[in-house]
């Protein structure tokens, strides 16, 4: 649907402000998948979703699809509602007093809000990685095993922990100190541990809220690498304020501004030929 519309719109003048996304786009490991998702329907879909903090409308009538096995990036200036939107997708906003939601959120076509869908069950299938690494003040092993354990995991926990740590590219670094406190790890390791913790639940979707913003460039590169590999197995929604990161990692990019979804398109299109002037302004660094 987006591709047809985009042909009709004359492309805006090319970037001139020194921010060049072509290189970032070229370093991508997989060509953006555009057709595959259309057949199976999105895993997560918001329909005219609005989210209020009291009377303040932080997200306004956003309709967005998060397609299967793709990375959907959500970009936009700070305070535009990216986190709020993301946190709606696993109902994490439920814990904030005074949050109201209107519109629809569909998970695999099933209504999430205002239905019998159990939020705890939703969070088993929709994992989340937070902006600041937030390991439990427990051992590395327990950090990964905690979620499956409380959810009555029947298999071999030790194997699950190892597999999850391997997928999170952390196993080699921590295999000899699984019983040491997770708080002794570096920031980047902690964040990979948090990713392992999310993966251990074998979720269908991974929500990531600026997972690299608290990390140094080397740790950031490792996490990006990891996300790039995870997307073959997981559906990822990635909030980032780093446009290079969105260009490198995502298949589709959504641009938000002041609570509204301005534009969503294949990443290669959004960064080269945005349809909306505001998107153009943002990616060329004119504000934000």
């Amino acid at each position: 649907m987006a591709t047809e519309a985009q042909d009709l719109v004359a492309p805006l003048p090319p970037n001139t402000r020194g921010l060049d996304f072509t290189q970032a786009l070229q370093t991508r490991s997989v060509a953006p998948a555009t057709a595959s998702a259309a057949t199976s329907g999105p895993v997560v879909r918001t329909e005219r979703l609005s989210i209020y903090y009291g009377n303040f409308c932080a997200v306004r009538e956003v309709t967005l699809d998060v397609p299967l096995c793709q990375v959907t990036a959500i970009i936009g200036p700070s305070g535009c509602g990216k986190s709020t939107l993301l946190r709606a997708m696993n109902r994490m906003n439920d814990f904030i007093d005074g949050v109201r939601v209107s519109g629809r959120l569909l998970f695999n076509g099933q209504e999430v809000y205002g239905s019998v869908f159990d939020p705890v069950e939703l969070r088993r299938r929709v994992g989340m990685v937070f902006q600041k690494p937030n390991p439990f003040p427990k051992s590395i092993f327990k950090n990964v095993a905690w979620g499956p354990a409380v959810n009555g995991y029947r298999g071999n926990l030790a194997e699950l922990v190892e597999e999850s740590l391997r997928k999170a590219a952390l196993w080699e670094e921590v295999k000899d100190k699984l019983n040491k406190s997770a708080l002794a790890l570096s920031g980047g390791q902690q964040q990979r541990l948090c990713i392992a913790r999310a993966i251990a639940m074998q979720p269908e979707v991974l929500l990531m809220d600026e997972p690299c913003s608290a990390l140094d460039p080397i740790a950031t590169a490792r996490i990006e690498d990891l996300i790039d590999r995870l997307k073959t197995q997981y559906t990822v929604a990635l909030v980032t304020h780093n446009m290079q990161q969105a260009a490198r990692l995502s298949d589709r990019t959504a641009f938000m501004l002041m609570g509204e979804l301005v534009e969503v398109d294949a990443t290669s299109h959004l960064f080269t030929t945005p349809r909306d002037q505001r998107t153009q302004d943002y990616i060329t660094g004119r504000f934000g």
Binding site: M92, E121, K132, N134, F136, P137, R197
Partner: protein
């Protein structure tokens, strides 16, 4: 514009004398208030030091007659009756029984209350919950003692165990337990709220339920804060006097049976203070020996609590 500015400045010059005087007065007042506040602070410090001094000074005559070893290990406490015996263990046992029993009552209730307030209660309830508990802490302790004597013992304990004595350790432990619930719940509530929200979110994000997050993340995460709360409440339970005098009785007895009449360290001090024991006798000086013991115990508990609390604050910066 210009003329008004110069007019005001000349006014200021004219008023300069009085302004200086006012400023000097203000400075003197500040200094006086400073001295006054300092004096107030010193009074409380001096009082504490004086108490410690009197305690030690007055217990020296006692420990000159009774060896501290005999005092601490003796199993009979009959300083007012023949044959006299000065073993403090029965009083210590009474205190331990009441304070320990009080913790058994208060820790589960206090910690659950705090967990409810910080994790479950809606905002408005949280707002009024704590002040309400603190009102509970303000009820005079003699009322609790009377409540134990006239309700808990006859209506509850004696219904279940008819052999229960009129004065008994159990009723004292129960009311002291109720008394220290606010201390525990209020401090635990603080400790739970100091656990970062991000940890709760991490728990919920891996499909934890509220109960799982509360008991397996928040509670362990606040454990040293909880320990400190329990210790501070313990210090209060050990020092509690009026309720214990009324409920537990005045019979120093080395027993673990909570249904018998016993006596605590504090209750003994009350007994002697109210009686007509002449000063400067060994009987009179016993209360300083007992008081010093009590002081040492509560001081130790408080110090440990402060240490634990400090460590808790270090965990989350």
């Amino acid at each position: 514009m210009n003329s008004t500015a110069s007019a005001t400045s000349s006014l200021r010059v004219a008023a300069g004398g009085t302004a200086n005087l006012a400023r000097a007065l203000r400075r003197t007042r500040e200094a006086l208030i400073h001295v006054f506040l300092l004096a107030c602070a010193l009074v409380s410090i001096a009082t504490t030091l004086a108490i410690v001094f009197v305690l030690i000074d007055q217990s020296i005559p006692f420990f000159r007659e009774i060896s501290p070893w005999a005092f601490l290990t003796g199993t009979r406490w009959t300083p007012l009756l023949e044959p006299r015996s000065y073993g403090v263990l029965p009083l210590l046992a009474g205190t331990v029984l009441v304070a320990g029993g009080a913790l058994l009552v208060a820790v589960p209730i206090g910690v659950s209350t705090a967990l409810y307030l910080s994790e479950y209660a809606p905002g408005w309830l949280r707002q009024i919950g704590k002040p309400f508990l603190e009102i509970l802490a303000g009820v005079p302790t003699v009322v609790y003692g009377y409540f134990a004597l006239s309700f808990i013992t006859p209506e509850i304990l004696r219904r279940c165990w008819p052999q229960t004595e009129v004065f008994n350790g159990a009723s004292a432990a129960i009311v002291v337990g109720i008394m220290i619930v606010p201390t525990i719940s209020s401090l635990c509530d603080d400790a739970f709220r100091a656990v970062p929200r991000s940890l709760r979110e991490a728990g919920y994000a891996v499909s934890g339920t509220k109960l799982e997050v509360s008991t397996r993340i928040v509670l362990p995460g606040a454990m040293s804060g909880v320990m400190a709360a329990v210790l501070l409440a313990l210090a209060r339970a050990i020092g509690e006097t009026m309720a214990v005098v009324l409920a537990a009785g005045m019979t120093p007895k080395l027993t673990l049976n909570p249904l018998e009449s016993i006596q605590t360290l504090t209750a003994y001090i009350v007994q002697v203070s109210l009686g007509d024991t002449p000063a400067d006798t060994i009987e009179y000086h016993t209360i300083f020996g007992v008081g010093l013991t009590l002081f040492a115990i509560t001081l130790a508990v408080n110090l440990v609590a402060q240490r634990v609390l400090k460590r808790f604050h270090e965990v989350y910066e």
